[in-house]
Every structure is written in C-alpha cells, then in structure tokens.
C-alpha cells in the first residue's frame, strides 16, 4: 500500500506499451480490417452485379428459347402443310391414274367385247348360214340372204 517508485515505473511502462501499440499493432490491424471491409463491399457489389447479369442472361436465353420454339413450331406447321399437300397431290394423282387405268381397261374390255361380239356374230352368221343350208338343203343365194342374216345377227 506504499506509494513509491513503482508508480512512476508503471507510468513509463504504460507509455512504452502504448507507443508500441500505436506503432506496431494498431496500424497494420486496422489497415487489414479496412482492406477486408473494402474487399467485402466490393465482393457484395460484384455479386449484386453478377446477379443482375445472370437475370439479364436468363431473360435473353428465355427470349432465344421462345424464338426458337416459335421457329420450330412454324417449321413443323410448314412441314405438316407440305406433307398434307404432298399427300393430297399424290392422292389426286393416284385417283387420276386409277381413273385412267380403269378407263383404259374398260376401253380394252369394250374393244375385246366388241371384237368377240364381231367374231361371234361372224361365227353365228356362218353357223346360221350353215344351219339354214342344212335346213333348206340347197344352195341359197348368199347374197340375197345376207341382209336377212344381218338382221338376224343384230337380233342375237
């Protein structure tokens, strides 16, 4: 409890420690703190910016996607249309072809039928003539009877 020299020595010691602190401790520590604060602020700003950029990029991508989707659907529509058209064309062509072939066949059939009918008519005429010859048992004038025969064949 005695006041003595210790008091003054303690004062001096304190001054020295404060001076050390002022010289070697406080400035570097505070500098690093300030720098880190600036760095963090910078980082936060950068992250804000990046967020904004990300949003912009997202919007852009969205619009790209939309465009692409539109284009794709357009293309699909066109293709569908074209497909339908091709199909229709082909169908029409096929129908026409069928028609054509059918008519050709019909014509041929008609022709061969005509031919057959003609042939038949000749043969029938010959037969009739032969028959009539047999019935009459005498030569008939074919020329006089031809008209008669023609009429007969037409009736068959």
């Amino acid at each position: 409890m005695n006041i003595n020299l210790t008091l003054i020595l303690q004062s001096i010691a304190m001054m020295i420690f404060v001076w050390f602190c002022m010289k070697f401790i406080w400035p570097p520590l505070l500098k690093s703190l300030e720098e880190r604060r600036a760095k963090i602020a910078e980082g936060l700003a950068a992250s804000d910016e990046a967020e904004k950029a990300l949003a912009a990029a997202k919007a852009e991508a969205e619009s790209f996607l939309k465009d692409a989707r539109n284009q794709a659907s357009q293309i699909v529509d066109q293709a569908n249309q074209r497909g339908t058209q091709v199909f229709d064309d082909a169908k029409q062509e096929a129908v026409a072809e069928k028609q054509r072939q059918v008519s050709a066949a019909e014509a041929e059939i008609q022709q061969s039928a005509n031919h057959a009918r003609e042939e038949l008519r000749q043969k029938v005429a010959a037969l009739v003539v032969a028959g009539a010859e047999k019935v009459i048992e005498k030569e008939i004038d074919s020329q006089t009877h031809d008209a008669l025969l023609e009429k007969l064949i037409a009736e068959i």
Binding site: M1, N2, I3, N4, L5, T6, L7, I8, L9, Q10, S11, A13, M14, M15, F17, V18, F20, C21, M22, F24, I25, W26, P28, L29, L30, K31, S32, L33, E35, R36, K39
Partner: protein, 355 residues
C-alpha cells in the same frame, strides 16, 4: 488454524491474519533507511523504504503481461491478411473492432493515439486482472519454493500500478488540453467555469474571488479524474483478491478442523493405512460405478460420505466457493478493464473539446 496439510501456509505456525498480510505484501526492493539497496524482508521494512522502493513483483507481472499483449497482437498484426482470417486473427480483430467502435462513439476528435491507447489499456488491464483467477496460493507457493519470500501476482491490486496508469492518462489529459486549447484556453477553462463572471455581469472587482472559487472547483474535478480512475480499479481488484484470500483461508482452516478431528482419533500421526484405506474406498466406489454395478446417484452419495470421512469435503467446499467467486469476478475483471478504457477515452475527448 492452518494445518501443515494445506498449501496455504508454507510455515506451519501461521495465523490467519499473518496469512492474509503475507498475501497482501509486495516483494519490495529499495533503499533501506541505512542507505543500502536490497529486498525488504517484512512489511515494516518495506514501509521504512519510503518512496525509493520498487515492487518487483508488480513490475515483473505487469511487464510480462504487457509483453504477452504486445506479442499476441503483434503476431496477428504482422500476418494479418485481408483474406479469410484464422480463428485467432478473428478473435484479436473482434477485440480491436470493439475498441475501435468504443473510441468512435465516445471520442469526438481526430487522434492517432487514443485508439491504440484504449486498446493497450483494455487488454493489458484485462490480462493483469485475469491473474486474479489463478488460485491465490499457486504462484506465491512456487515463488516460495524458489526462495522468494513475497509474491503478489495481480499488478492491479497494487495501488502503484493503477495510479501509475491513471497518472500517465492524466499527463495525456494535460498535454492534450494545452495543445488543443493553448495555455490561455486551458487556464480560462479552469477559472471561468462553472461561474462565468463576465456572463453574470459582475463588477470587475469581484472577478478574482469568483475566479478563485472556480479554480478550486475545477482543480478538484481535474485531480479527481486520475485519482478516481486509479483507485476504482485498485479498489475493485483489491477487494476481489481479498475475498479469494479469505476463501483460501476458509478452505485451509476447514481441512485443518477435520485434520484436528482425525488427530484426536489417531494421535499426532495419522497412520498410513488410513490414507490407503480411504483411497481404496474411493477407488472401489468409482470402479463399481464404472462397471455398472452401482447407480450413479448412489455413487455420488457414497463418494460424498467417503470424502467427508476422509476430510476432503472442506477441500471441495473451498474449491466450490473459489469457483463461485471466480465466476462472479470474471465480470468484474472485464468490467473494470472496460471502465478504465472508456473513462480514459472520455477524459481525452473532453481534453480535445472546447467549451
């Protein structure tokens, strides 16, 4: 009565008041009345030295702790990175930021000195106060083993240390007052406050009386600053230290009491088989609990009874009281360091301001 089993007294015949006084006596080195310099061997010798004496223990521990502060913070300051800080760096930085915020809040001015001063005072005083939590007998006992008669390990329980710091702060107050206000401004602040004769419209003939009155008031309030600053810290820590010493004393006296009971039973020397048996009993109780053959609740009860029988309960009681007071004292330690720092900041802020 302290028995020889305690670590409180290294001299067998030591009364309670001797024990306390021994703990409150600094290791003093100084000029003896007969003119030669040397250590004081008793409180009387230390007192006879008067002013020319140094409390070696106070200086040793305060310088040591100041260096601990310096190298601790310097090691961080040297490799302080602006990147991700290590845990230790974060801890140091949080203290620095706390001090920095306190200074920014309370100090209205620009000064390169105040913030480092506040940091140094806060951490240094905290470290010095922290010595109070080391059980009061440990370091003095070690010192006694190495032949040092007295050892007071908490520098802030020495009024020289606390007043030394507050006087240094006072010098700074005066220095800044003179620098910021000029000698004229400083003197006018002392004599024209709180009653300003000019503003009161007094005749000039009364001015000297009013000025003298003001000077007395202002000088008292000026001198009260360092005195209250130093004595507040000293008083708090001294009282805390004293309570730790009293607890240590109670613990020592308690085990002495039971020791006396054992002596009544066994005579002067407690036979070895008693200690062996006691140790075995405790060991067996613990072993049974460990093997799961004894419920923990019953183990605790059994151990308490055994310890009471052995005479160790007083030891446990003393430790509990020491712990309880230490928990409370932790608050005091931090609070007093903080108050010293804050008041220093405020005083220096006042010295910077014009009225």
């Amino acid at each position: 009565m302290a028995s020889d089993q305690t670590n409180a007294g290294h001299e067998a015949e030591q009364t309670a008041s001797e024990y306390i006084q021994h703990h409150l006596q600094n290791l003093t080195w100084g000029k003896h009345p007969d003119g030669h310099w040397g250590f004081a061997h008793s409180a009387q010798e230390a007192a006879d030295m008067g002013f020319w004496a140094i409390h070696v223990d106070t200086m040793f521990w305060s310088l040591l702790l100041g260096m601990v502060f310096f190298f601790l913070f310097r090691s961080v300051a040297k490799k302080a990175t602006t990147g991700v800080p290590s845990r230790f760096q974060s801890a140091i930085e949080s203290i620095v930021e706390f001090v920095d915020a306190s200074v920014r809040d309370s100090f209205h001015g620009t000064s390169k000195l105040v913030a480092p001063l506040a940091l140094t005072l806060f951490v240094w005083i905290f470290f010095m106060n922290l010595m109070d939590l080391i059980p009061v007998d440990w370091l003095p006992w070690i010192a006694a083993q190495s032949g040092i008669s007295h050892q007071k390990v908490v520098p802030t329980t020495d009024v020289n240390a606390t007043l030394g710091m507050s006087v240094a702060v006072f010098a700074l107050i005066i220095f800044y007052s003179l620098r910021m206000k000029g000698p004229g401004g400083f003197i006018s602040e002392l004599i024209m406050n709180p009653l300003n004769p000019k503003d009161l419209g007094m005749p000039v003939i009364f001015w000297p009386f009013v000025m003298a009155f003001n000077l007395i008031l202002e000088l008292v309030s000026l001198l009260a600053k360092p005195v209250s600053l130093g004595l507040r810290l000293f008083g708090n820590l001294y009282a805390g230290e004293l309570i730790f010493i009293l607890i240590a004393l109670v613990f020592a006296a308690g085990s002495g009491y039971i020791g006396a009971g054992l002596q009544a039973l066994f005579g002067e020397h407690i036979p070895a088989f008693y200690w062996v048996g006691a140790a075995l009993a405790v060991a067996i109780t613990l072993w049974l609990n460990l093997k799961g053959k004894l419920p923990t609740k019953r183990t605790v009860l059994l151990l308490a009874i055994e310890l009471l029988l052995i005479g160790g309960l007083a030891f446990a009681g003393g430790q509990l009281m020491h712990f309880g007071w230490a928990v409370f004292h932790v608050l005091v330690i931090i609070l007093q360091a903080f108050i010293f720092m804050m008041l220093t900041i405020v005083y220096l802020s006042m010295a910077h301001e014009h009225h």
